[in-house]
């Protein structure tokens, strides 16, 4: 019987579509709506030590094939977030708590606290390109990624995922660092650093000037990154970047992703994107003789049977 269920590091997902961090996931009740819409799991907004307002507006630019955002990691702070997780859990799907921090020790402490809230996994945001001092700096070299993962792993009792930045010359090296540090899975990719200028205003549109590019425009980059990471590490990879359909998700899975995350498509397609992506994947599997998602993981690599 053809089915979409996947297990990642012991977490059971009814289908491999996961809500990506930063989209409709700051409040528990919004996460419940996403679960109702058919997501297999949900990653929360990235949460830090203190409450943060994020960057002033404009914080988003709509492009033909994606979004450029500089939200600036707005979040209510980790102490406040316990209640939101408790609420989100009512949605009935696994909740993955995302955390960001300014130092290795800070992010490790946040990961531990998040783990204590009863999440199913913790995702380290080592890759936010638009909040100075948070995220990308901690994810910039394999050595730091390794240390952050090792320190974080000590305090968490659930699987630990490292979300990596594509704003680097060698993302596979970062993934290896995460694996050495004890991460249980890799999430790739975060947004690409970009800028948009309004010529009539003669200035960058984003108040923060630079932001992160997401959406279909970055999908080939994400697929390439997952492909490289799959060859470099043994731990599972979760693919993210520009997925709006079942065929898009299959690209990532065949590149080596065990599951996928969807974010920007919530804007272009609405929450229906989760159920539609699942349906399209299932149809493909039936028509092409694949019984389960794991049967397709990494098949685009020539040395795989």
């Amino acid at each position: 019987m053809t089915h979409l269920a996947v297990d990642i590091c012991g977490i059971h997902l009814k289908n491999p579509t996961i809500l990506a961090a930063g989209i409709l996931d700051e409040t528990g009740k919004s996460m419940i709506e996403v679960a109702k819409a058919g997501a297999g799991a949900i990653v929360t907004k990235s949460v830090g030590r203190e409450a943060r307002s994020g960057h002033p507006n404009p914080s988003i630019v709509e492009l033909h094939d994606g979004l450029l955002n500089a939200m600036g990691l707005p979040n209510p702070g980790i102490d406040y977030f316990a209640d939101e997780i408790k609420e989100a859990k009512k949605g009935g799907v696994p909740i993955i708590g995302s955390v960001f921090g300014g130092t290795e020790d800070e992010i490790a402490a946040l990961a531990g606290q998040m783990s204590g809230y009863g999440v199913d996994a913790v995702e380290l945001n080592l890759s936010c390109p638009h909040a100075k001092g948070f995220g990308a700096e901690l994810g910039s070299t394999p050595e730091i990624v390794e240390v952050v993962c090792r320190k974080s792993k000590k305090g968490v009792s659930v699987p630990l995922f490292a979300k990596l930045t594509p704003n680097t010359s060698d993302i596979a090296a970062l993934a290896k660092g995460a694996e050495r540090g004890g991460a249980d899975g890799i999430v790739a990719i975060n947004t690409l650093k970009g800028m948009a200028i309004q010529p009539q205003a003669r200035m960058p549109i984003l108040a923060n000037r630079v932001g992160g590019l997401s959406g279909p425009a970055i999908r080939p980059i994400g697929v390439r990154c997952v492909y490289e990471i799959f060859e470099a590490v043994k731990i599972p990879v979760i693919g993210v970047g520009g997925i709006t359909s079942g065929m898009d998700a299959l690209e990532y899975i065949m590149a080596g992703a065990s599951a996928v995350q969807i974010g920007t498509a919530v804007w272009s397609e609405g929450l229906e994107v989760f159920s539609r992506t699942s349906k399209e994947m299932l149809r493909f599997m039936v028509e092409n003789g694949f019984e389960s998602v794991p049967d397709m993981v990494g098949v685009a690599h020539p040395d795989r049977p």
């Binding site: 930063g22 989209i23 409709l24 996931d25 700051e26 409040t27 009740k29 919004s30 419940i32 709506e33 907004k45 409450a51 943060r52 307002s53 994020g54 002033p56 507006n57 404009p58 914080s59 988003i60 709509e62 979004l67 955002n69 939200m71 707005p74 979040n75 209510p76 702070g77 406040y80 309004q198 009539q200 205003a201 200035m203 549109i205 108040a207 974010g263 920007t264 919530v266 804007w267 609405g270």
Partner: protein
């Protein structure tokens, strides 16, 4: 970007900007207004189509900067976004408090053009702050005025006036935009009578396009599921009239 055609004083604290260019929208829909170098914020359209416009109260840095813009200068506009008011029924009661009249002036013109009968209650703090009274009369609505200080019309809340009018006349649907406690009051009235309600709500909004969760209201989003909600939806909001999210996503008293 769009060029400002004219900047008009509606009241001592409320202004209207009309733009050169066209944005087609349903009354109640909003646009994100970017004042370069200052801020970007949501504004419901008070005029749509050619020479579309926005009507705003001068409150913070953003609207102050907007008020200083002269005809010929350019403003960034994206949208329209969200769900507007839908004409349902033949006899409509429209209630606008303060700048809440901004989208309702447009809605009343639209409804009367569609041959519906419109009774409008316009509420304001004082006579000077009444918005779109002559526009609404000119459109052909039966207009009632309330002010907080009694400087014109009847003294008191628009909700009280709505209650009085509903006691005498039958309506198919109420339309509201204004302070949230006014919406709560009208929702209570609607539940006691066989009249529906469509009300526009306001929450802190960052992206305007349904992704950032800053305007979350019990799992719905004011920018995409609203800003106009029906009585059926409003009834389900536990936070209505009680709490809102602050800029960090924490619940705070309304």
């Amino acid at each position: 970007m769009f060029t400002i055609k004219e900047q008009l004083d509606e009241t001592p604290s409320i202004k209207t900007i009309r733009f050169t260019g066209e944005i087609s929208a349903t009354p109640g829909q909003f646009v994100m207004v970017w004042v370069p170098g200052v801020d970007e914020f949501p504004m419901s359209l008070s005029y749509e189509g050619e020479e579309f416009g926005i009507t705003y109260q001068v409150l913070g840095d953003g609207t102050k900067a907007l008020a200083n813009k002269k005809p010929g200068e350019k403003i960034g506009i994206r949208g329209p976004y969200g769900k507007g008011f839908a004409i349902r029924g033949k006899r409509l009661l429209v209630v606008g408090g303060g700048t809440g009249m901004a989208p309702l002036g447009l809605f009343i013109e639209d409804a009367i053009e569609h041959k519906e009968s419109v009774t409008a209650i316009i509420g304001a703090r004082t006579a000077k702050e009444l918005l779109f009274e002559s526009r609404t009369r000119k459109a052909g609505a039966d207009v009632h005025i309330t002010t907080d200080d009694g400087s014109t019309g009847s003294k008191g809340l628009a909700t009280q006036r709505a209650s009085d009018i509903l006691a005498k006349d039958k309506f198919d649907m109420m339309y509201a935009c204004g302070p949230e406690m006014m919406v709560v009051g009208l929702l209570n009235l609607a539940q006691g009578k066989s009249v529906g309600l469509q009300a526009s709500l306001e929450r802190l909004m960052k992206c305007g396009i349904g992704i950032c969760d800053s305007c979350a209201l019990d799992g719905k989003h004011v920018c995409r599921d609203g800003p106009v909600f029906t009585d059926k939806e409003l009834k389900l909001f536990e936070q209505l009239g009680k709490t809102k999210l602050d800029v960090t996503g924490r619940k705070t008293p309304l």
